[in-house]
């Protein structure tokens, strides 16, 4: 199960990279990056996963004393939450940029925005 998640995560990352590098449309690029981000998140969770254990939430069903043996590693879970939030921020910013770029030239083709070079 962990292996499948891990593999899926990496495949998503690769698809994301492929999409971002081959699509010239700004929005498609942004979507590709969110795919890659999602892949990263899956990998993150998969690394922390321990088969047969439960979520790292300490409540009635998981008493503190038994936590160490019963829950999965909580650190990657915490990390992935942060990563998701940050990913959202960056994606939003990119979309805002795409909007500004479209307003400038009326196109979403990345290859049209090459005034800055050399």
């Amino acid at each position: 199960m962990v292996f499948i998640a891990m593999a899926a995560g990496f495949i998503l990352i690769l698809i994301g990279f492929y999409g971002a590098l081959t699509n010239r449309n700004l929005l498609r690029m942004i979507v590709s990056f969110t795919l890659a981000d999602t892949g990263v998140h899956i990998v993150l969770v998969a690394v922390g996963a321990l088969p047969g254990r439960t979520a790292p939430i300490l409540d009635a069903s998981v008493p503190v004393a038994e936590a160490v043996t019963r829950i999965v590693d909580p650190v990657p879970q915490a990390l992935v939450l942060t990563a998701i939030v940050i990913g959202l921020g960056v994606t939003t910013l990119m979309l805002a940029y795409a909007y500004r770029l479209f307003a400038q030239k009326g196109t979403l083709d990345i290859a049209k925005f090459t005034e800055l070079k050399w």
């Binding site: 990352i13 994301g16 990279f17 971002a20 590098l21 010239r24 700004l26 690029m29 990056f33 890659a36 981000d37 990263v40 990998v43 993150l44 690394v47 922390g48 650190v75 990657p76 990390l79 942060t82 990563a83 940050i86 990913g87 921020g89 960056v90 910013l93 990119m94 940029y97 795409a98 500004r100 770029l101 400038q104 990345i110 290859a111 925005f113 090459t114 005034e115 800055l116 070079k117 050399w118």
Partner: protein, 1043 residues
């Protein structure tokens, strides 16, 4: 000490609080922003002060009250505190600079700026990997926002490119972090460094991903097109943050990661760094946009710091001093230059001429460039010296060579730029200098000088800023508002007083140079009284050059010597650049001198064998394996200054285009620095053999060829000052030849040349300069018949060429006499033949000075010409007097030198008895010769007067010319292309082959830069490909790939 949490918390909290203000309350919002940034800056300053005062080691701060790995920890030490100060101060000053756009965009922009500064500081302090990621992302988002403050619509594209790249970085970084965590069970950097991570297979890859992600934040060449676009299009105040603060924080993060990776990864850091340093400098050569140029330079400098971090295994604890010096120098210089660029109306570098009419702005520009290039006394100078020495010792010569090559490239485009600022057409500035926007630039300038003082204090060498001559020279910067005559008097007094105070310090050899450098220059500077007005910038430059010269002969170790060398180079560069058309010549002078200086640096570093510097006398004990190389490198360095053939192409332009009273200084005085260096070198190291070739023999050949070709080129000049300049090349060839003879008389002759050349070249340049001033041209064929109008100048030239050509009775003859004696004692026949041949050639060109300028027919337009000004003539007449005294009693100074030389060359000393000087081959009695010549001259003169007493005077246009009336005097005065037949016969020898060679080199470098920079085609996806390609290549070459 204020806790490290407060500044971070203050920035975060106020960024949120700004949101509570009303959208229209912009002034209070701006005040809060500045207040918080000010608080952060002060806190960081108090930390730096605290650490520096107490010498306390750094400490950890545990954020949640628990130790890592269960909580995030920050570290605060001297390095962190200094970087925080840099970052916060840059943020504060940029915020001041950004006043208008921030007020226009309102509180949101201010909040973003606060977050950016906070995150950069966090990146520096954090010891937690995931926290590192968070801060990097905060920087990314904040950067994405701040880029949009620019008025340039293209900035939007640049920001988007940056976001694309940072998405890739995020993926690498997160994957790396999570697997590193998986392997070690901790996110704490120090904890991870201790476990050495199951770095076996997966661990190495995990580390590689983290490492490369952070390295990309340092904008390494060639995966950095996005960064260049930001530099070019962003608001300059943000570019300042991006260059100074972001790069510093990223470099520090790389350094932290290297702690985990260990020594295996140091070569990778070095490799990426050196590629960036050389690559970015090369690509900067053809840049036509000033901010993009600064961007390239910024990338190069960051690369250099990365090299230093990669050399931690050699530098050890000294890494902080070296890396810090380079990093702070670059940060301060870049921030200042980016801020300054906002006052420039256009984006091509030549538009910086706008600064020309504002001395303070020009001073700021010069300071920041010097700081960037690493000239003394700035920190990067100490840092480079301390970097190069261990490299040479450890045999990392390739790296050393590349660093020096990159440095030369950098000096090339930066000083070319400085030349523009003085010489190109000046547009108006886009703002007032009495504004906060310029105020922040001045803060950077002040920081530059403070850092210079600090790094000097911290160094193991002497603090250059505290050296008396240099301080005296720099004081003239503050006195620049005084009238030129007052400054001239001050300068002359200072030179004479310094000589009076120190003359007991010099041995006879150094005494000769001290007399020329101090008293000789004071004498030449009398001509400076001729200048009315303030003459802005002249005195700091000339005093800088003289300070360098005097520090050179007072130096006892290699560091002081090298520092003096650079000081005199930079001073003379500013001086030469003052000439009207001297822009390209000053640049070529600087590049040759700077290149030579770098060769010297390498030579000294090789010689020191790991020590921080080497005593000059200890050059004699350099290990045999490196000694010939040391000799070669140092000799090349010195010969760039004496303009030995092959390295001479800068001299004619530089000397000829310089101002009237500058030409005698750079010719008569400055050229001696190279000879002094060669003397020190030859005395210490003697003869060296490399690959079976005796290097001193090589020197002999170079001297002979230089003398021959220099003189030959001189005879074909039409420009009087160029003629004198070429003749200097030839004269220096003689001196090198004399030294390379390595016998007593050869050296005596060289020293005599040192004195004589100073006197007659100063005199001739002043005389010819005076004539050029009055006639308005330097072309000799446009002159003629000036003997009656400028009799005193005529006398000076007459005496000068008699002395120089070496005919009796003047001192030149003494030089010749010693010279002939010297070569009789050697058996290098072929070079001797060349040297003999150059003697008559010298007659040819010297004759032209008299014939073409003073004799022949007066030109119509010169009928009203007056004698040269008094202050120009005065030194000439004093030189005439000195020449005659020196001719009568040459022993005055020479016999002491002769005696002194016996220490080194015991055989062949002259015998000074009464008025007679005896050598192994004959004797010379100057007084008798003077009398003989005098009597013959008087006899001939009286005979001439006697036979001519009935001659009838014929006016210029009297019809005596075969019944043809000369309407134009030119037709009766053959002057142009005077030696046409010789040109026909020997012209092939003076083809500008050397010039073509060096042109080809510069063109090739430009071509490579021009071609390579096409990889940055502007497309964001291409940049992403570059990045991925870069990552793959680094991985394959790195320890991860080979394991």
């Amino acid at each position: 000490m204020v806790s490290a949490i407060y500044p971070l918390a203050a920035a975060l909290a106020s960024a949120f609080l700004l949101g509570l203000l009303h959208e229209r309350q912009r002034a209070p919002a701006y005040a809060i922003t500045l207040g918080v940034l000010g608080f952060m800056t002060l806190t960081a300053a108090s930390w730096v002060w605290g650490f520096a005062q107490t010498g306390q080691a750094g400490f950890e701060i545990y954020t949640a009250g628990v130790a890592p790995p269960f909580a995030i920890s920050l570290r605060l030490g001297l390095a962190e505190a200094s970087l925080m100060l840099l970052i916060n101060l840059t943020g504060l000053l940029s915020a001041i600079h950004l006043q208008a756009p921030l007020l226009a965009h309102g509180r949101r922009a201010m909040a973003v700026l606060l977050i950016a500064v906070m995150a950069l500081g966090g990146l520096v302090m954090t010891r937690d990997l995931f926290n590192l990621f968070v801060f990097i992302e905060l920087i990314v988002i904040a950067t994405g926002g701040l880029v949009l403050l620019s008025d340039d619509p293209r900035a939007v594209v640049a920001g988007f490119k940056y976001l694309i790249i940072s998405q890739l970085v995020t993926v690498f970084l997160l994957i790396g972090i999570i697997f590193a965590y998986h392997g070690t069970g901790t996110l704490n950097i120090d904890g991870m460094a201790m476990t050495t991570m199951g770095l076996a297979s997966g661990g190495a890859l995990a580390f590689f991903l983290m490492f490369i992600a952070v390295v990309i934040e340092t904008k390494p060449f060639p995966a950095n097109g996005w960064a260049l676009d930001i530099y070019e299009s962003a608001h300059p105040a943000f570019a300042a943050i991006f260059s100074a603060a972001s790069a510093a924080a990223a470099l520090f993060a790389v350094d932290k990661l290297l702690l985990i990776g260990g020594s295996d990864w140091l070569p990778i850091a070095t490799g990426i760094g050196i590629l960036s340093f050389v690559g970015a400098n090369l690509l900067a050569l053809p840049q036509t946009n000033d901010r993009r140029l600064l961007g390239y330079s910024s990338i190069a400098q960051t690369g250099l710091v990365l090299v230093v971090l990669g050399q931690r295994d050699l530098l050890g604890d000294h890494t902080l001093y070296v890396a810090g010096g380079l990093l702070l120098a670059n940060a301060v210089a870049k921030a200042g230059l980016f801020w300054l660029s906002d006052l420039i109306p256009k984006r091509e570098p030549a538009a910086w001429a706008a600064l020309r009419h504002h001395p303070l702005a020009l001073f700021a520009f010069a300071t920041l460039l010097a700081l960037l290039v690493g000239l003394p006394p700035f920190p990067s100078f100490y840092a480079k010296w301390d970097l190069v020495h261990p490299l040479a010792d450890a045999g990392r010569l390739w790296l050393l060579g590349l660093i020096l090559f990159g440095t030369l490239l950098e000096a090339g485009y930066l000083f070319r730029w400085f030349g523009y600022s003085l010489k190109r057409e000046a547009p108006a500035l886009t703002g007032s200098l009495v504004s906060p926007r310029f105020g922040v630039v001045l803060v950077a300038v002040a920081a530059a000088w403070l850092l210079a003082l600090l790094w000097g204090e911290l160094s193991v060498h002497d603090n250059l800023l505290l050296a008396v001559p240099l301080a005296f020279a720099l004081a003239f910067l503050a006195l620049d508002w005084l009238p030129a005559r007052v400054k001239n008097a001050l300068a002359i007094t200072g030179l004479v007083a310094y000589f009076a105070l120190t003359y007991t310090d010099y041995d006879p050899l150094r005494m000769i140079f001290a007399v020329i450098f101090l008293l000789g220059s004071a004498l030449t500077m009398l001509a400076g009284f001729d200048v009315q007005g303030r003459r802005p910038g002249f005195y700091p430059s000339v005093m800088l050059m003289l300070a360098g010269l005097i520090m050179l002969i007072r130096a006892t170790d290699s560091f002081a010597f090298f520092a003096a060398w650079e000081v005199l180079t930079i001073g003379s560069y500013f001086l030469i650049l003052r000439g009207k058309r001297s822009e390209p010549h000053a640049l070529s002078y600087l590049l040759f001198s700077f290149g030579g200086a770098l060769a010297m640096l390498a030579g000294f570093a090789l010689a020191a064998q790991g020590a921080p510097s080497i005593e000059l006398v200890a050059l004699a004990q350099v290990a045999e394996s490196v000694a010939p190389w040391v000799f070669l490198l140092l000799a090349i360095g010195f010969m760039t200054k004496t303009a030995a053939i092959g390295l001479h192409i800068w001299l004619p332009g530089a000397h000829a285009e310089a101002e009237l009273d500058v030409s005698p200084m750079v010719s008569g005085i400055l050229l001696k620095a190279g000879l002094y260096g060669l003397m020190v070198l030859l005395l210490a190291m003697g003869t060296q053999r490399l690959a079976g070739v005796d290097l001193v023999d090589l020197l002999l050949w170079i001297g002979a060829l230089t003398a021959f070709l220099g003189n030959l080129m001189a005879i074909f000049q039409e420009d009087a000052k160029r003629l004198l300049a070429y003749s200097s090349i030839g004269q220096m060839g003689y001196a090198i030849f004399g030294l390379a003879l390595m016998n007593h008389l050869g050296w005596l002759m060289a020293l005599m040349f040192v004195i004589n050349h100073y006197i007659y070249k100063s005199m001739l340049f002043l005389a010819v300069g005076g004539v050029a001033r009055r006639t308005g041209t330097r072309q000799m064929f446009l002159m003629g018949g000036l003997i009656t109008l400028m009799p005193l100048s005529f006398i000076a030239v007459m005496i000068g060429i008699i002395a120089m050509s070496g005919v009796p009775p003047l001192s030149g003859f003494g030089g010749r006499w010693i010279f002939y004696n010297a070569i009789l004692a050697t058996d290098a026949r072929l070079p001797i033949a060349l040297i003999f041949l150059s003697g008559p050639i010298a007659f040819l060109y010297l004759f032209r000075l008299i014939h073409t300028i003073f004799l022949g027919q007066l030109k119509d337009e010169h009928r009203q010409v007056k004698e040269a000004p008094f202050w120009i003539l005065l030194p000439q007449m004093i030189y005439v007097a000195i020449l005659i005294v020196a001719a009568l009693v040459p022993g005055l100074l020479l016999r002491h030198v002769d005696q002194y030389l016996t220490e080194f060359f015991p055989f062949g000393a002259l015998n000074w008895e009464g008025l007679r000087i005896t050598s192994d081959f004959g004797y010379w009695n100057p007084v008798a010769i003077m009398l003989t010549i005098g009597v013959i001259f008087m006899l001939l003169l009286s005979w001439l007067l006697f036979v001519n007493r009935r001659a009838q005077k014929v006016k210029q246009f009297n019809i005596v010319f075969s019944a043809e009336r000369p309407y134009r005097p030119e037709t009766t005065h053959f002057a142009w292309n005077f030696f046409a037949p010789y040109r026909k016969a020997m012209g092939f020898l003076v083809q500008p082959l050397v010039t073509r060679f060096w042109d080809l080199i510069t063109q090739t470098l430009h071509g490579i830069g021009e071609m390579t920079r096409r990889i940055y085609n502007g497309n964001a996806q291409t940049y992403a490909f570059h990045l991925i390609g870069f990552v793959v290549v680094v991985f394959l070459l790195g320890p991860g790939g080979t394991a």
